[in-house]
């Protein structure tokens, strides 16, 4: 029983332990690792990924997947850049709205047309990417610097980056929804057994619908931050974001097959991956070894593989009775 409990603890909090270890490693190895500048830059930059990963987390917990988040974020960045001359609110509305529309399409395809989430969101991924390019006229769209729109991505609340603050609020809401609402528990139940959940009387389609719409909306919001932070709507950004998000969710201990997961550890997963890049950058900067972007990809891939393998083992042991 003690052993089972240990396994459970590692399964749930492993990512936090790994995160702490990585931070300690960086702190000991690099002078400016925990400098104010580095930490704030890290948080500002990774807030986009955090938002996308939050939506992905809910989708994966239902046993689904949303491959469209990257190109939906690109679409959102273009839409918000185009609306940015009219101010912050129109910019936000356009970006999130574009994301919600994409999410709505995913939701309809999955729950009404009964398409597999993989296929449905793959189609949306292509369509959103194309729409972004069409809307932007095949180039980046500069945002207005006069309307105040850039504050969303570049501004600070006192000294804390605004995009990171947005992400924190989103995660608080996400955690509340998951742990303290019937819909949140239904998300997990559906992932743990969709047929069983339906037979238990849960309205599975409605919950799944909400999850895809939310994922689209969060991707759109991430797009707004992207445009605002880098001063332009970027139709070709977002490539590979879905993989980063899936990786963060899985590293955070959420089962890729659904049914078990946590919002807080997803955030830890985002930070872990973000800090891993950061560490690799520092490593490059020290000149001991020079890791090209390609090598970084290989390392990240291996890291993810190791986590997934470990997770599979832990889960098997945890539910060994099944």
């Amino acid at each position: 029983m003690n052993r089972a409990r240990l396994v459970r603890i590692i399964g749930t909090y492993g990512v936090l332990i790994a995160l702490a270890a990585l931070v300690l490693f960086g702190f000991l190895r690099y002078d400016r690792f925990l400098s104010f500048y580095n930490v704030m830059t890290l948080l500002r930059y990774n807030s986009m990924f955090a938002l996308v990963a939050l939506g992905m987390c809910f989708v994966i917990m239902t046993g689904g997947i949303d491959l469209s988040v990257g190109s939906v974020a690109a679409l959102g960045s273009v839409a918000s850049a185009l609306a940015s001359p009219y101010g912050i609110v129109p910019g936000l509305t356009a970006g999130i709205g574009a994301g919600l529309v994409a999410g709505l399409i995913n939701a309809i395809l999955v729950t009404r047309a009964n398409l597999m989430p993989f296929i449905a969101t793959l189609a949306t991924m292509q369509a959103a990417s194309g729409s972004a390019l069409l809307l932007a006229g095949n180039q980046t769209v500069s945002v207005s610097y006069e309307s105040g729109f850039t504050a969303i991505g570049q501004g600070n609340l006192w000294t804390f980056p605004i995009p990171a603050a947005i992400a924190v609020v989103a995660y608080l809401i996400g955690s509340l929804v998951l742990n303290y609402t019937g819909t949140g528990r239904a998300v997990l139940a559906i992932g743990g057994g969709e047929d069983a959940s339906r037979l238990m009387g849960l309205r599975t389609d409605r919950v799944k619908f909400l999850v895809y719409v939310a994922s689209g909306g969060l991707a759109g919001l991430a797009g707004v931050i992207l445009a605002s932070q880098f001063g332009a709507g970027q139709p070709i950004e977002g490539v590979g974001w879905e993989l980063f998000a899936i990786a963060a969710v899985v590293v955070g201990g959420t089962l890729l097959t659904g049914g078990s997961g946590s919002v807080v550890t997803t955030l830890a997963g985002v930070l872990l991956l973000g800090i891993l890049f950061n560490v690799l950058n520092f490593e490059n900067g020290m000149g001991w070894l020079s890791l090209s972007a390609y090598w970084q990809s290989v390392i990240r891939g291996l890291f993810l593989l190791a986590v997934v393998l470990l997770q599979a083992r832990l889960t098997r042991r945890r539910l060994g009775a099944l």
């Binding site: 609402t181 037979l199 238990m200």
Partner: protein, 516 residues
Amino acid sequence: MTPPDGPSPMLLDMRDIQKRFAGIPALVDASLSVRSGEVHALIGQNGAGKSTLIKVLTGYHRKDAGQVLFEGKPFEVHSPHQAQVNGISTIYQEINLVPLRSVTENICLGRERRRHGLLDWNAMHTEAERLLSRFSIRIDVRRPLGEFNTATQQMVAIARAIGFSARLVVMDEPTSSLDEREVGVLFSVIRQLKAEGISVIFVSHKLDELYEVCDRVTIMRDGRTVRSAGMKEINKLELVAAMLGRDVAAVEGHATAFGERDRSRIGDAMFSARGLRAGQAVRNVSFDLRRGEIAGFAGLLGAGRTETARLVFGADRASAGEMTMEGAAYHPDRPADAIAAGMGFCTEDRKGEGIVPEMTVAENLTLALLPKISRNGVLDESRQREIVERFIRELGIKCSGPNQKVRELSGGNQQKVLLARWLAMNPKLLILDEPTRGIDVGAKGEIQRLIRGLADQGLGVLMISSELEEVIEGADRIFVLRDGVSVTELEAEAANEEEVLTAMAHGTSASSEAAT
């Protein structure tokens, strides 16, 4: 069918329910009426329509015609959710809960307790504990359901059902995965529900259980309700006869195409099993098989026939018992061991475990044979063609040629392809699980003649069939299984339907019963 006036008011009255799936009738004329505070048994063979009827009741399927009255009012629900809200909860055969989630969530999902709009976990944990304590179960309700044993999970399912303040609880084979003690606990729970005025529909194949806990019974066959009676008014033999559609008194001529027996073909002993045991499904099964003999397994659904066959074939492992094959001890760990020992197994689930519909006749037929007809991993196509053509000819497989997809063949011809696949391995012992299920009458006769012909050539055949005449006329010896125990062995010539039915119902044949 008009329900008789009973002592307590009628809670549920389903009349003349009809339901078709893709044009195929599943329910033709099904009726079921349950009184308040009554435990009502619903029984029937596989495919009789019990599950469909229950799913119509619980809103999973929509009926095509008929009337449902619940508490005297017309009752029309379109989802399990609606049924639950209206007081009908269902516990499905395979426990339909979410093992990854906590016990509390599994009990409270769908009717969560809230405080200030948010979930009140403390109240929900207390509620779950309170419901479970009614059945004297004390567990950590915060832990995932999957960490507990099957019986506990079953109790959680029941706790969930009554937590919805159900008026009627439907239990679909709730005892199939429970041991005796756990069944005892379940029965005391059922009696408690009854005492509280809650009605129970109890689906089970274990006849003793019905007499122990049920008040009335409804028997279904081929989508129809064939009889409804008080448990005291009907004996086990009548029950079984009604389920199988046999008139206990009348046994007519030949109903199958097996033809006359020729006992001279039966040779020396080949296979024997003693005291096989595995889980709850197989508790004590012994039988043996001689060369050229067809041994038939008779028994009701859930008697452990298929499960025993799987033990013999190494698909599952026996926890106790001895098997010998051709005089040597035989302990298969996996089907490959059984195949190496010269066995073949045509499964009951032809579509799921047998044929690969998208592959051709030739590919399906030689699937298990590939290593033998390949040289250095490369398929020897001329040998393949030779084998395939031989079997198409010998078994009379009707197809446009070896390259036709198996999906396009009729059920009977698919079965022949499956038979051919095993025969091509040149087995000594062939296990056939429901070899003629879902096959039209003409093809059925062909398959039956084929089986007899194979036995004539010295093959030992273990045949499982739910069609009584198939076992009685086809087998040389009949082993009757009941609740996982091989209760009787009958020489086929001496056996008549009544004897087999009696053994299925009571566990002893009529002749031995007279002695006891």
